[in-house]
Symmetry: C2
Subunit: 201 residues, 2 copies
């Protein structure tokens, strides 16, 4: 399947996922590829790996917070996260699957609007109300979003993707799958680029 | 201190440290800098952070082993590690401090010889005998090395560097400190390059 979409797994708490979200579509397009945007629940993965968010790991807190901001500046991406992290990414992730069911491009637009409102502008997107407010500002119908994130099929979709990620050992954010090859981290985008160009090495 | 050496912390078990060991001197020289090679005991750090070697973390084992080899090929570095990992890096690290006390360039030569013998050629460097054999092949005097790695001052030096790393929250391998700025990972070498060029961003 040489033209299969690039799978892009991310959690809305992940600054490196947010940086990658600004890069992956252009990178894919350069190689004639599309991107399948897949928000998932990293907290569920961490229960399996015994991991914690980087800022909560002993010794790693100060470094990781510093590197989040430094990496964002390095990549030219605005970064001003809310104080309350990690937050529940459930409502935001559901909003993406609701929009994506209508049109994959709308799923991406929703994801970028939510990521930006949260990590660049410091807004909370943990609550359904917070998510609906951001979506409305981005041009989505507020009532339809509010209803959509309660849709059992939408809820189920987030669960399916998260379970699928765990079953495939997709343990971090961002995580890319390119023709079956797995890449973890925004700092693997150069490798993803070369993989798409060469088919592997 | 614009001309202070770049501190390069690494553990002999670390494939990413090994990859960085092939790159960091050239990168520093490009900016008129030298490198202070500092092997340390990541196992002592992991006791503080509660971390484990990547291959032993649930879900991360297969990915990390695959990425070690793929990253080595990407960077053009031969990679054929021994089956027994992680191993004790104590004797190898002491050999570096013994050689470094004579001449920093010899410390680097010792480190590269040991890293290569182990991670590119699959030899064990956990035992003093294994370390002495590699050092002798690299042109060091076998008896002097065997004696040197038992020298209390050399043993103390490894302890001092490891304690210093822990006190400064240097939690991984490789880890670079450039004019007080900290960078974790071989995948931060591009940032180190830009930091040296620009003085920060």
């Amino acid at each position: 399947m040489p033209d299969a979409p690039i799978e892009f797994f991310f959690d809305f708490n992940s600054p490196y996922g947010y940086i990658a979200a600004h890069k992956i579509d252009d990178l894919a397009a350069k190689h004639g590829r599309s991107v399948d945007w897949k928000p998932f629940l990293l907290g569920a993965v961490f229960k399996v790996t015994g991991s914690q968010p980087l800022p909560e790991v002993p010794m790693k807190g100060d470094y990781s917070r510093h590197d989040f901001a430094r990496s964002a500046r390095y990549h030219g991406v605005p970064f001003n996260p809310p104080a309350d992290m990690p937050f529940s990414p459930v409502a935001a992730s559901r909003a993406v699957y609701w929009a994506k069911a209508q049109d994959p491009a709308k799923g991406r637009d929703m994801a970028l609007a939510l990521y930006t409102a949260c990590l660049a502008e410091g807004n909370e997107i943990a609550s359904p109300d917070g998510v609906v407010a951001v979506a409305a500002k981005a041009g989505f119908d507020a009532d339809a979003v509010a209803e959509g994130i309660q849709d059992p099929a939408v809820k189920e979709q987030l669960k399916i993707v998260t379970d699928d990620a765990i079953s495939r050992n997709i343990f971090g954010s961002p995580f890319f799958v390119v023709d079956g090859e797995m890449f973890w981290g925004a700092d693997r985008l150069d490798m993803v680029d070369k993989w798409l160009e060469t088919g592997g090495w």
